[in-house]
Symmetry: C2
Amino acid sequence: MELAKIDKLVCSWMQRAREIILTGMQCTLTVTTKTSRNDLVTNMDRQVEQFYHQQIKEAFPASVILGEEAKHHPARVPEQGMLWVVDPIDGTMNFVRQQTDFATMIALFINGQLVRGYILDVPRNELFWGGPGEAVHRNKQQLASPANVALKDGLVQVSNRFILNDYAHSKAIINASSGLRVFGSAGISFIHLLTGRCVLYMAKLKPWDFLPGVALAMGADLQVGVLANRPTKLEATSLAVTTPAAWPEIQQIMDGE
Amino acid sequence: MELAKIDKLVCSWMQRAREIILTGMQCTLTVTTKTSRNDLVTNMDRQVEQFYHQQIKEAFPASVILGEEAKHHPARVPEQGMLWVVDPIDGTMNFVRQQTDFATMIALFINGQLVRGYILDVPRNELFWGGPGEAVHRNKQQLASPANVALKDGLVQVSNRFILNDYAHSKAIINASSGLRVFGSAGISFIHLLTGRCVLYMAKLKPWDFLPGVALAMGADLQVGVLANRPTKLEATSLAVTTPAAWPEIQQIMDGE
């Protein structure tokens, strides 16, 4: 199947997932914790992941699927065929506590190559899709690449854990910028980069958290800096995604120069 | 004039201010810095402040006005008559860089008492108004007081400067919570408290930044903790505004116990 047809299909799945989530929000959520008291999962995460699983297996039966809520995770990107990376609800804490600033996300590898990212901001109904060699779209509208803004003129997004431990000299990076913003969802943070509202997003993220955004960032001519680990190994990775103009300055600060 | 009539009048001014801002956003903004490179002011801030000034002087000629962009500021709350505190655009950095998450705000003192706060989220067109003894409204709908959530079960909002300098043990407070969020606008941060999306907002703020939100917080049965300075003295003040349930725990952490 051509990629353009896949795009259409995936966008239609995500719109249906959005309806499932919005309907589910009218009912009482079942919230449980996973690895820690602030790592939440709801019945909606599981239901939406199952929905994506069914759609993918029906349309592309030979696919491998890496889902946030699945019990077994493939360890590597397969060299042949399709790998789907699914995050049914990104920003579950916001979903539960704020009912805003959360997303549903999918990334697609074909024959070992990351080709597409899809992030749907559920409350605002804005679906960002694209990838390496395919400009980013917001719903049906093609977006220009974000302005190539320097660090001092841009807002930066840094995760809780990086700030509190001053990882990668994050305090100095914040001080050199226009200011800090923290939204609590990787998908929403990537959207702020794609729309030019921020110049940096820096965090340690799971594959389902960063792969959709990384595919889109590549389509938007942003710089994807990997701070640790190897992203082909489908494991948690520390990333700094920035405008090309901000990246050399951020690297200098990280190197302590 | 009765307070109910004043509410109606002020809400109509703010709707007109919103139209001025949205129209101005279609044109090129003139952006200049004030006290530092990250303290911005635009032609729209000045134009909207002037608009409020005219409306207030026409309706209530004996009023004293404290405006963010005015050259002369009254030092104290007058014991008699009306004091209007005006923030034409709160979150000017977001206004310039993000075109979202900014507000226009007004607070009103009568005979030395803070009686009303008004915060209009301009892009979302949600106007929050109320004060001590008057329940908070969102547009025409009266809001219930936010759920009285404990610190561990809530998201916290802490300013850049508090986090980076660990003022008031803010790192320990963040670690004891569900997570950190930073939106970069006092008005938007107060709205997140009023709607129960967050349990704390902690920052050092100018009078025009905190007085509208403090009036609303009092109407919503939230706890307003003053960490330093005296708010009647119309000067920058460090505040922690929280749910009543979270406040004792936050105080304990601040006291280093």
